[in-house]
Amino acid sequence: MSAASLVVNRHTCFQFKASFAPCTIMQISRYDLEALQEELTDIISRAPNFFLGAPIVIDLEKIKTFGEINFAKLKEILTAKNLVPMGVRNGSPEQLAWAAAQGLPALSIGKLTHGESSKKAEKQSTKLITLPIRSGMQVYAKEADLIVTAPVSAGAELLADGHIHVYGPLRGRALAGVQGNMNARIFCHTLEAELISIAGYYLTKEDMQPLPESHGMIQIYLDNEQVRIETIS
């Protein structure tokens, strides 16, 4: 390891590298540490290896209004189960301060809070594609919506942080909200896609119910973590 890094550059002793390390989000919906401990024991017993040493980010979105949270105790529970608490997110300013005092820094990874996503939306512009997207091609609309006015072939891939609109036949893959925007949608006229995905929740061609013979515009959205396909008449 040290030999390898020496080869890279003799003058620096480290490098920053961008990465998307997988991280488990623990969203707490009810503040009851005893019940939490029991549930955790139960879940971990079902898949012990999966959780072994897993980095955990504690999401406080649903208990934001809750006053006092014993972060020291929470940390202890997680550590006892061989989990690695990394930090907290989406808490109230006081909560984040308490958590920081217990060595759990405030993180802003993964899903954005509502305030942040609306800020992002203002920056968004739209990416427009007018030429056919052929098999093997990939188009990514970073922090933007994607509009395609030409066919999307089987084996092609559309990715967007925002919505995806396809006016030609959609035969490839379409992944909207790839950075986790669960409000992203896919709109198309004919749905022959190999795969559709919203914020990582996906359906393959096999899972898609056939649509009625003559249908209008189709929209695909996420409803309660379920990908829904709906026609708009």
């Binding site: 997207i133 052929r134 098999s135 093997g136 072939s153 084996g155 092609a156």
Partner: protein, 274 residues
């Protein structure tokens, strides 16, 4: 200034070399000074189809490496004047081709020829990418079946992104679809994709439809490009394709099922009975 045409498909065995040979002969017959280049280094085939395998001394790789001059390597075709063949090397592999080397050879050929036909190898590796890199026109050869259509679709994607014209953001390559080994009978039976099925997916102008024909194999074995077999349906279909390439508007032939006159008579009677 010469026009460079690449004959490509992605998938192997669909008729790229047969097409390259016939299109080149067709263009030369109409008075255009034409050269056809075999880019399939290591799997030399074009010389066999053109019937000049016994006259190959130097090849494309020799020219690129400066071991022979272009004039030494070009073989004059025995069927048509104005047509020359630049054979591939059989002993090297595709890495023997370099972008700079190919550029120099094509630049030299551009000075004296009207059309340069590049016979691409199958696949999407170096050889195929170099064959298309400098092209002005692409003839995408497709069989009416799903895997060939998907591979052609992939090639069309590469044509619009990995070529010199695309890199320099010039006017894109002119794309032409050539459907080969088409059998109207099998289309009617539902065993084969129809012209409209293929067109729906690829959506590029149709240069021609070459019917599945005994004449093609016969011509390959004899070393006479099938376009010269003027009696055959495939030969006539290639001649039509060349005309369309040169801007003529012709109806498509050999795309309907041939029915025997007796059968037609009976079907007429059946209709009457109803």
């Amino acid at each position: 200034m010469a026009q460079i045409i690449v004959v490509t498909s992605g998938k192997g065995g669909v008729g790229k070399t047969t097409t390259s040979a016939s299109i080149a002969v067709g263009l030369a017959e109409r008075g255009f000074k034409t050269v056809v280049i075999d880019f399939d280094i290591g799997l030399r085939n074009l010389d066999l189809i053109m019937g000049c395998e016994r006259r190959v001394v130097y090849d494309f790789v020799n020219v690129i490496r400066g071991e022979a001059s272009l004039n030494q390597a070009l073989i004059r075709d025995k069927h048509v004047s104005e047509l020359y063949i630049l054979p591939a090397s059989q002993t090297r592999d595709k890495d023997a081709l370099t972008t700079e080397g190919v550029a120099v050879v094509l630049e030299e050929l551009r000075k004296t020829f009207d059309y340069i036909v590049c016979d691409s190898p199958a696949g999407i590796e170096r050889g195929a990418q170099l064959a298309m890199y400098f092209a002005d026109h692409a003839i995408v050869v497709t069989n009416p079946e799903v895997s060939s259509v998907r591979d052609s679709d992939r090639m069309l994607g590469l044509l619009s992104s990995k070529t010199k014209r695309a890199e320099e953001s010039r006017e894109p390559i002119t794309e032409h679809l050539l459907l080969t080994r088409y059998s109207p009978k099998r289309v009617t039976k539902g065993d084969m994709l129809s012209i409209s099925d293929v067109n729906e997916i690829l959506a590029i102008p149709l240069l021609g439809v070459i019917p599945e024909s005994q004449a093609v194999l016969r011509a390959s074995n004899a070393g006479d490009p099938v376009i010269l077999d003027r009696e055959s349906d495939a030969g006539q279909a290639y001649a039509d394709a060349v005309s369309r390439f040169l801007g003529q508007d012709l109806p498509y032939r050999f795309i309907e099922e041939k029915t025997h006159w007796l059968k037609r008579l009976f079907s007429f009677k059946e209709k009457e009975a109803v």
